[in-house]
Symmetry: C2
DNA sequence: CGTCCGTTTGAGGTTTCTCAACGAGGGTGG
DNA sequence: CCACCCTCGTTGAGAAACCTCAAACGGACG
């Protein structure tokens, strides 16, 4: 058994101005809270939500937004659940910690992502969610999700889509940890984050702002910090990417794709398929009968 | 980059009589198809479904069951999706394969589990589902899930619970691949399977029937077959478990728990929490208004 | 009786880890 | 303003875990 390389998440470090802006689609969102808009931006990738769905969404997220500093927990493994959130600005990580301190990051959460969306289902949190940068979030009651599902079938379908998308990302993550080399894991992670951010307008060109320390990358990829460092430097030496303070430039995307066999289909950037849309439309017009 | 150790899944091998029986709870299930009963058995862990939910479930699964031989795909990565299924008897594995042949198993599917439950969302399958033993399954149309969600809020909540539970299992799997040693991974896998089967009445005592070859275990745990073999033999030598043909006996459960820090809470064997149940009941009685 | 699939074992190699130390930057307090 | 932390990144050296290759074994089945 190896000793834990994992280290506490950073705490009480002042803010940096990474990604404080949520990119909003040009819809009539004036009447909505920031939380509703952020979630809408994401769900909109899947389907244009109808007025009923948008009202329901607005009703769900009508509480004032809250702020967290880098290193604080929005949710703590083993503790009773409190609120659920939609992230407005900043990054967070969902992680699990073993009794001896080893830590594994399960997923990265970016603006528009939900924290504990289905959290009402277990009273005690099985993972922690920690702010990786200073962040703001829109809180909502965990049980409200049930009401939401019942009130708008379209919204329910969109939420299921969001859950399925998350599962796809976790699946690809599982492949990385189980079958990819350190080099492939690192390259794959950056390609994924780049693709995720780009589709929401949070990254442009080949540049990408990420508030990730090498320790955090290590905990996400199941590697030691030392080896992440060496891998990063090797990829940089080959001219594939350039790492600065808290940003990364993907210099040779074609070759990065080749290194990892990256195929962004699993991220599901696409709209609802035809048959599903038809089924939903029928329901919305004629009722569930 | 390591060469692929992964090997094709076994094919066309005759059936073995492992787990051909689904344990049914003692409810009035006479009017339901086998598929509906199997899924009900699982969803029942979460909440006693009301008549409306049970009617909807029966309507979803009214097609005749189908059979697959060991090694056949119920769903193939990269191919267009066909039906979704509820597994009735036998085991399956969901896996992803890299271009060079390396394979990672994402999850094991046992009776009552759904294949491609949310599959309508992507037209092309991002993973394969392969029969690990001969199996039978109840098919349903992928888009039917939308109707189901709209017709019964209780069923919708139960399905969300099932999805959340799956995500928890994947999360723990991620911890294994990222931060646990081979020894811990193997012990953890068996404890998980044992707990999952026991709660549905598919395993008794410390014995557990699993149609897993060492190659399959390796592909699930991100290890080589050779190392799985050595790890298995080491655990056996220490008297922690005994592996026979296709069954495993957990000889020292206390120490196995200690080896892995296993805590079965993440499997969510429990019923719906109080507040969620109350919320749902209100909806069912008063409507979503 | 031969073949096939899965398991087992040996030997040597590679990746990744641990331990340890140093450097660079930024914030903080004297 | 400078000295001192503290965090994070970087580098070296040796060790451990795990992998590959190769070969042999055993049971099941034709």
């Amino acid at each position: 058994m190896r000793a834990p390389q994992s280290v506490r998440f950073p705490e009480r470090v002042p803010a940096r101005d990474v990604h404080r802006e949520v990119c909003l689609h040009t819809m009539a969102t004036n009447d909505m809270s920031p939380g509703a808009r952020a979630l809408l931006t994401k769900l909109d990738l899947f389907a244009k939500l109808d007025p009923q769905a948008r009202r329901t969404l607005a009703g769900l997220l009508d509480r004032p937004q809250v702020s967290y500093e880098r290193g604080q927990d929005l949710m703590t493994q083993g503790a009773l659940r409190r609120d659920s959130y939609v992230i407005l600005t900043g990054w967070a990580a969902r992680s699990k910690t073993l009794p001896d301190g080893r830590r594994q990051i399960l997923s990265f959460l970016t603006p528009g992502d939900a924290v504990g969306l289905f959290g009402a289902i277990t009273p005690v949190a099985t993972s922690s969610v920690t702010a990786l940068s200073d962040l703001t979030a829109a809180p909502f009651a965990p049980t409200a999700i049930v009401r939401t599902i019942a009130r708008s079938p379209q919204l329910a379908a969109a939420l299921v889509w969001a859950a399925a998308r998350e599962q796809e990302i976790m699946g690809e993550h599982l492949v990385s940890l189980g079958r990819r080399s350190a080099r492939e894991r690192v390259a794959h992670l950056f390609l994924e984050l780049w693709a995720r951010l780009k589709v929401r307008g949070l990254a442009g060109g080949d540049q990408l702002q990420v508030p990730l320390t090498q320790q955090i990358i290590a905990d996400a990829l199941g590697l030691s910090v030392v080896h992440v460092n060496r891998t990063l430097r090797q990829l940089a030496a080959e001219g594939l990417l350039a790492v600065k303070r808290e940003s990364v430039a993907l210099l040779d995307i074609r070759q990065l794709h080749q290194v990892t066999g990256f195929d962004e289909d699993y991220l599901m950037h696409h709209a609802m398929p035809q048959d599903l849309a038809a089924e939903l439309a029928r329901l919305v017009t004629h009722g569930p009968g």
